[in-house]
């Protein structure tokens, strides 16, 4: 009879067996997760299950601002205008609009017989209230975009007169979904409550909301374009982690999601529809020229020459992005070809400029403040290390506060752009631009160049030329170095029809779920 193993030996064997037993189901589960078919994802009802990596922190559009979250808020709120696939302003809650002869006043005619989901009428007073709130509310994130507005008056029940401080033909684009999503004035009387209990006149109504986690919405039958909304229910879910989103799509937990470029191939392999929504995204390196060492123009130029945009594109976009040295993608109406490639990648020149500025290799030590670990930061770090600038990365969960207070010296930012090119330019280069880390610094001649764009009607043959001239002036700013265009990649179940290709937007008009 064989000897019974000693207790330690048995325990050793038992722990190894336990490890193996735990590993086997884990592998089986992961294999199962990878074998689900996209055909089973829709759940068979017109329910959109949208996993988003930027679940709104604020549901009051005035507080939420013009960032990517406006796409989700657009489920609830309508605005005066919207944009079409060419980026032109088209009617939304405003049926029509008209400028006066000098371009200093614009009258919006609101659609008749519209109501917010709390029963409050959508009328001129409600629109005036929304504009006034955007300008005057203490925590407004968009007041800086409304500097052209002198005041707002109403005429009759449906006409809103917007009086301007200067001639500005950008207003119809400005009053779209990014800046003027209109909340019920009754609900907005309590902005704190509105921030977590949104009430709008958009295509959907929020029925439940778990802050930061999940929102459940149903179709708004009284939406002015309800006939073109074919989705009955929406579940908006905060995506837990980029690596798990494709699995969630495969298994039917979601049927629509924004995904990172690194997940696109996996999503395609899983039989999902992967598409790139056109947009105006541009990533940048933000410098504060009010602080050392960036108060030395030669150091700024050295950093500009040290940046190899191709590396960002090759390593981060997986073939879906492109390089840009302007706050928009190449090909956009505001992109100025004359100002393209002003600072090509040239590490030798960068080192020379640093030497001329009096810095030896390794003498400049910078802290790159960012809100979360992103490979972009590591690329910046390695590219600057190559020219002798030592960068340490500091991840600060409270990054937004010092960034928007302009207290940081060196940071990264990515914009989803704006419908109005002027808004994009002023946000980046204007003295109070939220994305100008060097406020109140602005490039010489910028205000005049922007004023000229505002004075040029968008349908004027000169518009593109004037706009590009303003971009050229803006790019003389030493506060921003643009790097690449991050793509708007989405993956969806095949049961969801194609979305309208409206640049920068996620629009559900006409979309069906089979």
């Amino acid at each position: 009879m064989p000897a019974r193993p000693s207790l330690p030996a048995r325990r050793l064997r038992r722990s190894a067996l336990l490890t193996a037993l735990l590993a086997v189901p884990a592998l089986v589960l992961s294999a199962c997760a990878g074998s689900g078919s996209a055909a089973s994802t829709s759940g068979g009802s017109a329910t959109l299950k949208w996993a988003t990596s930027y679940f709104p922190t604020h549901w009051d559009p005035v507080v939420g601002g013009s960032g990517a979250q406006f796409r989700e808020l657009a489920l609830v709120y309508a605005s005066l205008t919207r944009t079409d696939t060419k980026g032109n302003a088209v009617p939304d809650l405003a049926q029509s609009w008209k400028y006066n002869s000098t371009g200093t006043e614009i009258t919006f005619h609101v659609r008749p017989n519209q109501k917010f989901t709390d029963g409050t009428p959508v009328n001129a007073v409600a629109v005036k209230d929304a504009i006034d709130r955007a300008i005057h509310q203490k925590d407004s994130a968009i007041f800086g975009d409304l500097t052209s507005i002198k005041n707002v008056t109403t005429s009759g029940d449906l006409d809103v007169l917007v009086h301007l401080t200067q001639t500005d033909y950008q207003i119809p684009l400005l009053f779209g979904e990014r800046v003027l999503q209109i909340a019920s004035p009754k609900a907005a009387a309590n902005p704190t409550k509105l921030d977590q209990a949104p009430v709008g006149a958009g295509p959907f109504i929020v029925t439940s909301l778990v802050p930061g986690t999940k929102a459940v919405l149903k179709k708004n039958p009284n939406y002015w374009d309800a006939k073109d909304i074919h989705i009955n229910n929406v579940q908006l879910i905060a995506a837990p982690d980029a690596a798990t989103v494709v699995s969630g799509l495969q298994t039917g937990v979601y049927n629509f999601a924004d995904i990172t470029p690194s997940q696109a191939s996996a999503a395609k392999s899983a039989g999902l529809d992967v598409f790139v929504q056109p947009g105006f995204n541009a990533e940048n390196i933000s410098l504060n020229v009010n602080k050392a060492p960036f108060n030395n123009p030669k150091v700024v130029d050295a950093v500009r020459y040290a940046v190899n945009r191709k590396e960002f594109v090759d390593k981060l976009t997986f073939g879906y992005g492109e390089a840009t040295d302007q706050p928009f993608p190449p090909g956009y109406v505001a992109y100025d070809n004359a100002a393209a490639d002003l600072y090509p990648y040239n590490p030798a020149k960068s080192k020379q400029l640093l030497a001329e500025a009096g810095y030896k290799s390794g003498q400049i030590k910078l802290t790159l403040d960012i809100p979360a670990a992103v490979p972009d930061a590591e690329i910046v770090q390695s590219q600057l290390a190559a020219v002798g600038i030592k960068v340490s990365i500091d991840i600060d969960k409270n990054w937004a506060t010092p960034f928007f207070a302009k207290n940081l010296t060196f940071s990264l930012y990515g914009t989803t752009g704006r419908d109005s090119a002027v808004q994009t330019l002023t946000a980046h280069f204007g003295p109070n631009g939220p994305l100008n880390l060097s406020s109140p610094y602005e490039p010489a001649g910028f205000e005049a160049a922007i004023a000229k764009v505002r004075q040029t009607p968008i349908d004027s043959p000169d518009y593109a030329k004037v706009l590009q001239a303003a971009t050229r002036v803006g790019l003389t700013s030493k506060a921003l170095i643009f790097t690449y265009v991050a793509p708007n990649i989405f993956a969806k179940s095949k049961s969801i029809s194609a979305l309208p290709a409206i640049p920068g937007h996620v629009d559900w008009t006409g979309v069906t779920i089979s």
Binding site: T19, D241, S382
Partner: protein
Amino acid sequence: MVRRILSLRAGRLAAGILSAIALLAIFGPLLAPDNPLGSSSKTLAGPSGQHWLGTDYLGRDVFSRLLDGSRDSVVGAVEVALVALVVGVIPGLLSVYLGRVFEWTSLRLADTLISLPFLVFAVAVTALLGNGITQAMLVVGVLVSPVFFRVSRAATLAVARSQYVEVALISGASVNWIVRRHVWVKVLPAVAVALAQTMGVGFIVVSSLSFLGIGVQPPAPTWGGLLASDLNYLHYQPWAPVAPSVLIMATVWGCNLLADAIRDVSGETGRALINTRKAQANGLGAKRIPVEGRV
């Protein structure tokens, strides 16, 4: 003690694994064949003669990053264990001898610390004090310390009420002498078991925090951090998480085996201590079984 541990198969295995990990922590960064922070254009490359474990999303050599990340991963776990040891054992011993006020206060404090979720707390502390491994592990060490507090208190209680200690007290021995001469010897095996287990727990905590991007600033590699970044590129490198996972599992397993081995060689005393703890957990603690009386 060491010889007795090595006489067991589990002890030998634990010693082998933990020695290898310790060597990696000490010499790993020196042994790295490539610059662990040096990127290249060969991103997400498969294993090859040049890159044994392939390259990551920025073209960095994964094997070099794994070696370079050993130190931070191990040092964090050691820090947790040592902080927990110091913060837990001394009050555990003193709670038996310093009177009812200290006993009541220290017990309630231990109960409070146990109720705090240490991962969440570590995240909060790094948000307050800055994202660094030292402060994160300091907090985790304090939160894990009730394990040592309870183990050392239970062992001390068992010894303190034994007849030979009472005899020593009657004979005029000081509390200090009794602790050094009788109590510490009996407490040590239980503390050693807890220490080995806490190292394992600390390692999991370090790996979890670095997996979440907390504690170590990029681009510094850690095993948990490597695992986290690998998950984003599973489609391209499905094998990538294996190496850091195996290292994490092996280290934790090694710590647990060592704890088992220490417990086994600590003999009847060690088992008795465990039995006492179990008895207390089952509501029999009030009887305070005199351990030495069973020998």
